[in-house]
């Protein structure tokens, strides 16, 4: 008797994603990062406790398609809102979703103070070195030499100063329980990123203070390259400045 193999499904997108459709660009890394977070929320059965505080950026498209409660904040202001949430609902699982423009430019003060106070939520930073949603402008994490619409000749120390390594900065503060940096440009990076997200979530669940996971993501549109060139560009230009590591645990 011939036997066709019984195939079992081993991978599908998390059910917490109410639809696969989103308006982010071809080759964007943000949907990968968001998927990893949702996979973990599902696996750790945190859905009913989750309150996500979302910043403003391309990723602001996600609250509408994630089946968890989301409190939308202003650009840069998610950490203070998340502070209010976690202080009144300490049993909630609270995470912020912020881009580099949001967290490290507009909201630098907020994330530093929340970290120093040891607010027990997890900040998730999607770092692609640009303000994507407004069309590709320099942020505090744009790397030297990177061309953007506000650094058309490439970021230059004299005119634009240096980028900020936010994870290294935050890791120095007492009150911080876990800081790590990942990237979603390769399968290995994706695996690593899921692991550090998992560890950051465990830090929150154990009440160990503020946690930050910085995730390097591809933005081919505002890096002015083809979608499939994103991973290579990230490896060469972002990862060299922002190494993948656990910075505090």
């Amino acid at each position: 008797m011939s036997t066709d193999p019984v195939m079992e499904k081993v991978f599908e997108r998390p059910s917490l994603l109410l639809t696969a459709q989103h308006s982010l660009c071809p080759g964007c890394g943000e949907p990968l990062a968001v998927r990893l977070v949702l996979e973990l929320i599902q696996e750790l059965e945190l859905r009913e406790r989750t309150i996500c505080v979302c910043g403003i950026g391309c990723y602001t498209a996600f609250p509408s398609v994630m089946d968890v409660d989301v409190l939308q904040a202003l650009h840069g202001r998610a950490p203070s809102v998340a502070t209010g949430v976690k202080r009144v609902r300490p049993d909630a699982f609270v995470w912020t979703l912020q881009g580099d423009g949001d967290m490290v430019s507009e909201g630098l003060q907020e994330v530093i103070h929340s970290a120093a106070r040891g607010e027990n939520f997890t900040a998730v930073l999607l770092n692609n070195g640009v303000f994507g949603e407004t069309g590709g402008h320099a942020t505090a994490t744009t790397v030297l030499g990177q061309r953007t619409k506000t650094t058309p000749g490439g970021r230059d120390v004299e005119r634009h100063g240096h980028p900020i390594k936010i994870s290294e900065l935050i890791a120095q503060l007492d009150g911080v329980g876990y800081v790590a940096r990942g990237a979603v440009h390769t399968a290995a990076g994706i695996k690593w990123t899921k692991q550090i997200l998992h560890d950051a979530f465990q830090a929150q669940l154990a009440g160990r203070g503020f946690s930050l996971v910085e995730i390097l993501t591809m933005c081919p549109t505002d890096w002015f390259i083809a979608p499939d060139a994103g991973p290579g560009w990230l490896e060469e230009n972002l990862k060299s400045v922002y190494p993948l590591a656990v910075l505090k645990s």
Binding site: G84, V88, H113
Partner: protein, 351 residues
Amino acid sequence: MEGSQALAEASIQAGCRFYAGYPITPSTEILEYMAMRMPQVGGVCMNAESEIEAIGMVWGAAGCGVRAMTASTGQGISLMQESFAELANAQIPVVAVNMGRGQGDYFQATRGGGHGDYRFIVLSPASAQEAADLAMEAFHLADKWRNPVMIMGDFLLSHTSELVEFRPLDESALPAKTWATTGAVGRQGITLTSLGPAHKLATAVGDSLARVVGKHPEIKAQEVRVDCGFLDDAEVVAVAFGFPGRFVKYAVKLLRERGRKVGYVRPISLWPFPSEAVAQAAANARAVAVFELNSGQMLEDVQLAVLGRAPVHFIGGISHDGSGFGVGPLLDVKVIAERIEALCDGEGRAA
């Protein structure tokens, strides 16, 4: 208790369980009181590192359905404007107190210093007792309308000590806060945002802002609060708000004792403004006199309400002591009475 303390204690008794603020004169006493009192009732008081972070924290707490509050003065309120606008547009109830240094923040409060078409309900107490009563009303109104409420205080209010009685409201008619993000238990997740509707996969973004302003006519119809007196035969009507309103009331009483036909209108709700009360008072008067410690802000609302029925005169002005914080020479019953009386004698030009 001092006005600030009365306001704070009344808030606690109204169920406020989250306070975040930043020290700034003359609102600091509220922060100090809350720091002492909140832990006693199992609430949270945060001394935020900036006004913007303070209102952000209040946002987070209120978004989860907890009664939350902040206080500041003009400059700090300025810093909070972006969040105020978004809170109003997301229909999240919060109570914000402006302990003003003069009365120069009337426009800021009633016109809104933030972006967009929102309005705050603005209440202006003239005594520590009224501050306590209005604090309780503020939380009730904020929840009732899903709209932020501002209490407009001033330096005298914050530091004047009076006997206060706390009189809780009947709040049984308030609906449950099903709009709050509390964790998706037994339901789909919701998004609490000014950018669109609460349900997921929403496509029609535009309606949410229309719903925000759609509440305004009803709020105007239901939430006007005003204190008037001696209006039946008043030839000159004085209009003033806040603590200076008390001075004006007293000046009017003194003038009445002297046989002068004067009356007063003291708006307690600055938004919605008691336009009808002012219009009616002006209809039978020869002149309307607006007294406020600024260069003429409520004046414009009075002019709009009066709409030419009588000439409107400005008898106020910017007035503070050497420190810039306290009471100036203009806030004096004698001075105020003189200025009103001058109008009885037909002096002065309309503003």
